[in-house]
């Protein structure tokens, strides 16, 4: 009964006209950035982070969340019609989605993608409603040692899942921690690594770092290539999948939803991991795996359901523990902090309107997305024809504006340009930015909890292994760190490792 009462309270918040408007803006922008290659949800969310300041916390966070799950829907459109992933979680949809489009089945591919996303998104919301309050009540018992160990685990999982060398990913995570510690020490108020610059006293802003590493660097990389687009020009008809399509897709959608939701909850996991895992699972379970890569609808339905379910699941660690499991959630944490809110075990009890309002808005957002992505598909197809030589300069303009508006300070524009250049070279040399950004956000929290736990335990390191949750997190982190040294384990890692980028 409690859940129903809470959901009703949530809808009371979400159905306020201003919140409906923000939700619509969020899912619309999310679909837009999902459709447009070169700009992902991370760039869009960091660009719009300053705008959330002008409204209530509910409105701002509803919009930011809408961008995230909206981009999961939009990304599939570009993958299916152009064979270029609109954002990282849709990479795998290109494989069979574009083949289906080439065979004249773009409609069912888009349809099953949107409907599968809707089903998975709705399931993950129901699960979020049921799991989050329970986990939050358990998380109240967490001490600094548990938090520190959980953050270590989150960083290790992300570095484990990052494409390429794990040493490089771990180095990036360490650099992220160092960057996060720039500014005044939270305990002693001593300035650290500020080089006498007053602008660095409060640390480096998350927005310029993310906009530089993901927005600008992505544009710089894209301008190097002549991007050829193989757009399906035929009129898109019969968006609703037929009986056979549904029969083939029901299992993959169900499995993708469950798999995606659980992978979304894991620290360091996320929508990208979920979509790849779902594709691999469907191919393995299929009686005719040879159809995969040649237009199998299961190869679209499963991953699309998985990435949307993961997007919902990822809210759980943020809302209940205050730990962002991925870069997108780190940005959402930034939005909470801007409004003076601290996500964590007490959020649900202290701010029930906010928590349940966000959850309820996601139901509304999912329905909006279904309308935006099925009847209005033609509009997005037109947008795909926008030339990149016009789009890229405009993206650069908006990154500059977004960064400046976040602080009204030109120094942040320097930081953004600097990180844009660093991000470009990082990608060229095979260093992924995702571990750096997550560590940048978690660094100060990790340091704070580590120092607190050492002070509380009077320097006894056993505090990290005597507490079962902390010990389990550290043991798992250790397995993931040592594992790649074993050849069989390394091969498995290479199979699941992926680009967590844009």
């Amino acid at each position: 009964m409690d859940v129903i009462t809470n959901v009703m309270q949530g809808f009371g918040v979400a159905l306020q006209p201003i919140n409906i408007l923000y939700c619509f803006i969020g899912v619309f922008i999310g679909t837009l950035v999902g459709v447009l290659p070169g700009i992902g949800p991370i760039s869009a969310m960091s660009l719009l982070l300053p705008i959330t300041l002008s409204g209530t916390p509910e409105s701002g966070i509803i919009m930011m969340a809408g961008i995230y799950y909206g981009s999961m829907y939009g990304g599939s459109t570009t993958s299916i019609l152009v064979n270029i992933p609109g954002e990282a979680a849709s990479v795998v949809t290109c494989i069979d989605g574009h083949q289906m489009a080439k065979q004249g089945r773009a409609g069912p591919a888009l349809g099953i993608s949107a409907l599968g996303s809707f089903i998975a998104g709705t399931f993950s919301l129901v699960a979020l409603m049921l799991v989050a309050p329970k986990l939050a009540s358990v998380a109240i018992a967490f001490g600094p040692a548990e938090y520190a160990s959980l953050m270590v685990l989150g960083l290790v999982v992300l570095t484990f899942l990052t494409q390429g060398s794990m040493a490089k990913a771990l180095l990036m995570a360490c650099i992220g921690i160092v960057l996060g510690l720039i500014g005044l020490d939270g305990i002693t108020a001593q300035p650290r690594l500020t080089f006498g610059r007053i602008e660095l006293i409060d640390g480096i802003g998350l927005v310029p770092v993310v906009m530089g590493l993901f927005g600008l660097a992505e544009v710089l990389l894209n301008t190097e290539q002549v991007i050829k687009r193989d757009i399906i020009n035929a009129k898109i008809t019969q968006l609703l999948p037929n009986k056979e399509d549904w029969k083939a897709s029901a299992g993959p959608i169900g499995r993708g939803t469950l798999l995606g939701f659980f992978l979304g909850i894991l620290p360091g996991g996320g929508a990208v991991v979920a979509s790849f895992a779902s594709y691999a699972l469907e191919k393995r379970l299929s009686k005719t795996p040879e159809r995969f890569g040649r237009g199998a609808i299961e190869g679209v339905a499963g991953p699309e359901a998985a990435n949307n379910a993961a997007a919902g699941g990822a809210f759980i660690p943020l809302m209940t523990l205050g730990i962002p499991p991925n870069v997108v959630m780190a940005l959402l944490l930034g939005a909470f902090v801007i409004h003076g809110l601290q996500p964590g075990p007490l959020l649900i009890t202290q701010n029930p309107g906010l928590f349940w309002g966000i959850v309820a808005s996601m139901y509304i957002g999912n329905v909006m997305l279904l309308v935006l992505n099925l009847p209005l598909i033609g509009m997005w197809v037109q947008l795909l024809k926008l030339p990149y030589n016009v789009l890229f300069p405009l993206i650069i303009l908006f990154t500059i504006i977004g960064v400046y508006c976040s602080s009204n300070n030109v120094f942040d524009v320097y930081v953004m340009v600097g990180f844009g250049v660093i991000g470009y070279f990082m990608r060229k040399f095979g260093y992924e930015p995702a571990p750096l950004v997550l560590a940048f956000v978690l660094g100060p929290l990790l340091e704070n909890n580590l120092r607190k736990s050492l002070i509380l335990s009077q320097g006894d390191l056993m505090t990290f292994v005597e507490r079962p949750i902390s010990a389990a997190c550290l043991a798992l982190a250790l397995v993931l760190l040592i594992g790649p040294l074993l050849p069989a384990f390394r091969k498995k890692r290479e199979l699941v490792a992926l680009d967590e980028g844009a």
Partner: protein, 161 residues
Amino acid sequence: MTTPSRPAFRLDNSEFWTGILGLALGIFVIRAGLHLKLGSINDPGSGYVLFYTGILMCLFAASIIVAAVTEGGPTFASRWDGARWSKPVVIIAALVVYSVALDQLGFLISTIPLLLLLLRAIDPVRWTLAVPLAVLAPLGVWWVLKRGLLIQLPSGIFEIG
């Protein structure tokens, strides 16, 4: 199946030099941590986490260097094989100049030329589209921010905008 022979180490191995850069950064962080005071394990100081993070950075960088020496790695030139490297160079140079000019000249005077340059430099947009877009987009943004959101963009020494 033939076993591939171990590649000879080349001085232009990009993996090696990025590892060296990581090592240098790690040493810098260790020094910064020591300078800030480590404190004790009972009461960690401001440099405690920095110091140990620096040590980890050195370890990871060393492992990258060892892998580069023993397994080889792509050269700097090969990283840009087939890429139009001049495009990002132009954009980076334009953005550096823009960053310096933004505070001095103001948003409108510095952004209009930047946008025009980008529109012509990436994959040239025809002048008849590039000029109006380069003028109208910054003007539109400036108007929305100033009038709608009451955000003041830099107006520079000429106080335009």
